[in-house]
Amino acid sequence: MTSEALSPATTGASGAVEPRGAKPKKLTIGRVGVYAFLVIAALFFLMPLWVMIVTSLKGLPEIRLGQLFNLPAQVTFEPWLKAWDTACTGRDCNGLKPGFMNSLKITLLSVPVSIVVAMINGYALSFWKYKGSDLLFGILIFGAFVPYQVVIYPLIIGLSKVGLFATLPGIVIVHTIFGMPILTLLFRNFFASLPPELFKAARVDGAGFWQIFFQIMLPMSVPIAIVAVILQTTGIWNDFLFGTVFAGRENMPMTVQLNNIVTTTTGVREYNVNMAATILTAAVPLAVYFISGKWFVRGIAAGAVKG
């Protein structure tokens, strides 16, 4: 349904093409207007980040003054320490640390597993079609649009039947399942764009399914795999729904713990600790974003459907 609709934007989204809009003249009122609009928009986008940072560095008495945008009069790092180490979720007061470790475990396991699986899918769908493989792919793409709620409950029952519900392998399987539609589409489109002679030559030389995969296709798919890694790392780190439902108390990811810390505090609401915790949770995907730069743009354009 969407593979056609997606491909043009996917290929063009690198942003490397020259702008083709109206030609700029010297500094006119129009030009000033353009920059004014962009700067105001940029301020709107930066405002929450600014508020997060300054709030996290203020003491509570200063926050109660209600000067949301002001720089802290007295910088304190205590909220950061507390958010990391001692903030409470219900009765446990271990801060975000355990959540961070859980998210790290979940992400480090789910990203390679889901990508390897999808890579083999895309490879098989491009070069080794069998009866019904296209139908399976169609179902998978349908799966990209299904509201998760329709499959969640039977999946809970299924996973608990095999003893994997609320375990680390369980949540890895869940991320692999729900990442599969878009990643398979990504890799299938990539392999389909390779010259077919490449595959034919290897076949003539007598190479089989795995040999061609490991010796020819795997080394060639490094660029698209980087896009997939960025997509999955941010997607899995930012996941909330699957973490709440499938991870269980032992493997609760950082986003779920953050939400618990912020929304279930009894007594005094410590806004500075909350904001420090929020920044800490956002830090990993933000780092991925700023390090990967244009790769990230390519990744979201390609994998946008996952939303």
């Binding site: 699986v117 098989a124 998978l140 909330f240 946008a304």
Partner: protein, 315 residues
């Protein structure tokens, strides 16, 4: 096993059969390699949905059972104020989000297309919210919307003492607060996709429009926009799937409140299979959520089939 498959394939290739037929040949390894895909496609996206469908006709409570009660769950669903409000909310949220996202996204793309300096910097600024989770987005905006310490109080201290801006505390406006947070998070993606679409439009169009003396804004609105259907569709579909699934940001911002002002179908389902221990009801709601998706897919299929038939007739 792999050696067997390899050698038999190679033999088939070397012998008389042409390469195309060899490629179509049944390969065991291809099935072995795609086992996870077969399990996911059939096991999750077919069998799980069938089970959800079956259980939606039962009176399952904490655990699933097979005591069929006919359409009871669906009747109860549509009799429930909570559900009807949820459906209304998701429509309102969807329309507002889609319109705001597409309009603002296209505006940003057009302004970014003016051969500006520091394009990469602006792009980074517009896109970074998308790298943050919707939970983070929701919590930040919830804090800024705080009636006593948030934007409202900051502006009041500047001297505008009756300034009102705390949408989340009011039943009538809470949903627009969530829309604002969602648009802040996702509009950069729309901008990136539409900008790529703009750059894909033929440069000759611009020259022609200029020669005809058409002002730039009219070219953007009436000539270029209809030419980038692919990018528009991609951005649109993306936002739509996000709307149907809206969950995280509402949980983080309002938990569905105040009252039921921001209650959504996705939350309704999760609440019924967890806290409310009413699986049958939850499954009925989940299957109802699937209906619009199925409707769009069927519509798409009919349109494609029609276009194909027209093409064949033309030939």
């Amino acid at each position: 096993m792999s050696q067997y498959a390899q050698s038999s394939d190679a033999a088939a290739l070397v012998s008389t059969s042409p390469p195309r037929r060899a490629r179509r040949k049944f390969n065991v390894m291809s099935i072995v390699g795609t086992t996870p895909m077969i399990l996911t496609a059939v096991g999750v996206f077919v069998i799980c949905i069938i089970f959800s469908f079956i259980w939606s006709f039962t009176n399952s409570k904490l655990f699933p059972n097979f005591n069929f009660v006919g359409m009871d769950q669906y009747n109860r669903l549509w009799a429930s104020d909570r559900w009807r409000i949820s459906v209304g909310n998701v429509f309102l949220f969807g329309v507002c989000s889609l319109v705001a996202n597409m309009v603002f996204g296209y505006l940003l793309a057009v302004f970014m297309d003016q051969r500006i300096k520091q394009e990469d910097l602006f792009r980074s600024i517009f896109l970074y919210p998308f790298a943050m989770s919707l939970v983070v987005t929701g919590l930040v905006w919830q804090w800024m919307f705080d009636p006593n310490l948030g934007i409202q109080s900051a502006v009041r201290q500047l001297g505008w003492t009756d300034f009102q801006f705390a949408p989340l505390t009011n039943q009538a406006t809470a949903i627009y607060g969530v829309v604002l947070g969602g648009v802040w998070n996702g509009v950069g993606v729309t901008m990136a996709i539409l900008l790529a679409g703009l750059r894909g439009v033929d440069a000759e169009i611009w020259k022609a429009a200029k020669i005809d003396g058409i002002p730039a804004w009219r070219t953007y609105l009436f000539i270029v926009l209809p030419m980038m259907k692919g990018a528009l569709l991609t951005a649109f579909i993306l936002q739509c799937t996000g709307v149907v699934r809206v969950f995280d940001i509402v949980i983080a911002m309002t938990q569905g409140g105040p009252g039921v002002a921001t209650q959504m179908p996705a939350i309704y389902v999760i609440q019924h299979i967890t806290d409310r221990v009413n699986v049958g009801q939850g499954m009925a709601a989940a299957c109802t959520m699937l209906l619009p998706v199925l409707a769009v897919i069927v519509l798409q299929g009919v349109l494609q089939w029609n276009a194909k038939r027209k093409k064949e007739k033309a030939i």
